[in-house]
């Protein structure tokens, strides 16, 4: 049951069907289908080069798909691209702005394309909340301040859809928190957010749904909460004495390492049976780690040689 279903917006925020993009002989997108519901923060997750930016730039008609169709808020991204862009706030992954302008001048310039949606008070509030001085020239802004300016220009006209390509790169954690709050407020206001990231922690913290893209294909689209519930738990338990060897012979449970009376485990199908098994022994210490999207993410990439080494040494149970 999703509360967003009650906002009454029927059109999907984003609809991609069989979108292919070739650069010469290189296939960047190999037929992507994606349906993003409105009123949510959707995380678009994938490593660099997977096709995140290519997908986003097709939405804004900066590049044209080789095949397939893309729609944003019901509008065709190519034939009705101005209608799309009128309703979208965009932060490019490689954010470049006019260096010689002052931050405020730049915002004026962006505002001039949507005169009807100009909202000086909201803009001033955004500048205040992100602590950005509009009198400063873009040339002298730090990476983080540039990123803030990029976010403000995307947010200030209250677009129906925010498309953010790696929006919090270069921001310190406190500002990231503020940005998360801004995005949550936008969603509470009935808007939608499409956020690409290679930072799992960010998607995990901010997004309600996640689509994983790899090598130009959508590998999975999942509800973040469901994904986490279904995913592996990491458990470290220290017993008063070394436990019986068959104690953890349970479905979905794997012993990773045994150090005397301390056992490192992974539980893949929920944690209930494991907890009950542990409880039959005298326990000195118990730690479980929140399943992180990192682990889930790695599961989708196990056959990729470039994937980072696993956090735990792999060893079959009861070896």
């Amino acid at each position: 049951m999703r509360p967003m279903a009650m906002t009454g917006r029927q059109r999907p925020a984003i609809e991609l069907s069989s979108v292919v993009k070739d650069y010469g002989r290189t296939r960047a997108l190999a037929g992507i289908d994606l349906h993003v519901e409105p009123g949510r923060i959707f995380g678009f997750l994938g490593p660099n080069g997977a096709g995140k930016t290519t997908t986003i730039r097709i939405l804004l008609d900066l590049i044209r798909p080789t095949a397939g169709t893309a729609r944003v808020l019901g509008f065709d991204c190519q034939r009705q691209s101005i209608e799309v862009r009128r309703r979208v706030g965009y932060v490019p992954g490689d954010l470049r702005m006019y260096e010689s302008m002052r931050a405020g001048e730049f915002l004026d310039f962006i505002d001039s394309f949507r005169p009807a949606r100009r909202d000086a008070a909201f803009r001033a509030a955004l500048l205040e909340r992100l602590a950005l001085d509009p009198a400063r020239r873009i040339r002298v802004l730090s990476k983080g301040n540039r990123q803030k300016l990029g976010l403000i220009q995307a947010l200030m006209h209250r677009p129906e859809l925010l498309v953010l390509d790696e929006p919090t790169s270069g921001l310190d954690p406190l500002v990231q928190e503020e940005v998360s709050r801004l995005l949550e407020e936008a969603v509470a206001d009935g808007r939608s957010v499409f956020l690409s990231s290679h930072a799992l922690s960010e998607v995990e913290r901010v997004c309600q749904s996640v689509g994983i893209i790899r090598q130009g294909e959508i590998a999975a689209v999942e509800d973040v909460a469901r994904l986490k519930a279904r995913s592996m738990h990491v458990v470290e338990v220290t017993f008063a004495a070394p436990p019986p060897s068959r104690l953890f012979d349970l479905p979905g449970v794997r012993v990773v390492r045994v150090d005397g009376s301390t056992v490192h485990l992974q539980a893949h199908d929920g944690i209930d049976a494991l907890v009950k098994a542990i409880a039959t022994q005298r326990v000195l210490d118990l730690r479980t780690e929140q399943p992180s999207l990192e682990d889930i993410f790695l599961a989708y990439y196990t056959e990729t040689p470039a994937a980072p080494a696993p956090l735990y040494e792999e060893r079959p149970a009861h070896a």
Binding site: T26, E83, Y90, Y98, S100, R214
Partner: protein
């Protein structure tokens, strides 16, 4: 929606003022030094190429002849430098510096962006030539040079069509080339070849018909300072300019915008492409 126009004009204000003042200073100096040169030039053996530019019935030892050879024969090059800067900057420059992404993600048609930038440079050229003409307006009335201000105005205005032609050519090259450098290199190559062809054709009888291939012929052949503007030539130059603007629009509306990066060049693009293939993504 005039915001791109306004910004574009503001971005080039120092170029307009700088190049305009340069024209004005050179023009005024030429006028003021004319009395000192007048007698010396009477017996000067004029190089054939220069005499060809001036035509058989105009001597460099007359006021109009002197200004035509000392000013109007080469100052269009100054304006064309500006034109190439603007033409290659409009699309290729913004693309290379990465700002085109945010600009084109606004609710504005690519056609409108281009048209506004063209309009800004048209106005910029007019302003520059106006500033340049001021140099004559403050000097000609005080010197016995036998040139009317009306003739000066015509000759100054006559520099606009060739300027706009090379602007439009640069715009077109910039709408297709992978980088501003490539576009500017191509445009400067064409300008140089056109200037050289015209000079060569003027000096060498056998190559005479080659001159029709050079825009500089249509710029100078009518001797505008003496005869006023040659409208057929102006129409031809402006027609070609319009054609290149249409070609630029056609190319720009249909193609992908490269991601910014400042240094996306041909080699860089190839490297990126190869990298993408290696990653398989």
């Amino acid at each position: 929606m005039p915001s791109v126009f306004t910004k574009s004009l503001r971005d080039q204000k120092w170029q307009i003022v700088g190049f305009g003042i340069a024209l004005a200073v050179i023009g005024a100096l030429d006028v003021f030094i004319w009395p000192a040169y007048r007698d010396a030039l009477q017996n000067l053996q004029v190089p054939p190429a220069l005499q060809a530019f001036l035509g058989s019935d105009l001597s460099i030892a007359t006021g109009p002849g002197f200004l035509s050879s000392e000013f109007f024969s080469w100052t269009p090059i100054l304006l064309i430098v500006y034109a190439v800067m603007q033409g290659t900057g409009a699309i290729a420059g913004e693309e290379g510096s990465g700002t085109l992404d945010l600009l084109l993600s606004q609710p504005v048609a690519r056609r409108d962006v281009l048209v506004q930038k063209v309009a800004a440079t048209c106005l910029g050229s007019v302003l520059m030539v106006t500033i340049g003409a001021a140099g004559f307006f403050v000097s000609v009335p005080f010197v016995d040079i036998n040139v009317t201000l009306r003739a000066i105005t015509m000759a100054m205005a006559n520099m606009l069509p060739i300027t706009l032609l090379f602007f439009a050519l640069s715009l077109w090259l910039g709408s297709m080339a992978p980088s501003r450098g490539v576009a500017a290199g191509g445009a400067i190559g064409v300008v140089t070849a056109a200037y050289f062809v015209n000079t060569l054709a003027n000096g060498v009888q056998a190559l005479d018909s080659l001159k029709y291939a050079s825009p500089f012929y249509y710029y100078g052949a009518g001797l505008p300072l003496v005869n006023g503007i040659s409208w057929p030539h102006v129409v031809l130059l402006l027609g070609l300019a319009a054609m290149f603007v249409m070609l630029a629009l056609h190319a720009f509306e249909r193609r992908d915008v490269a991601t910014g990066g400042g240094d996306i060049d041909v080699l860089g693009a190839l490297r990126l492409r190869r990298g993408a293939r290696l990653r398989g993504g």
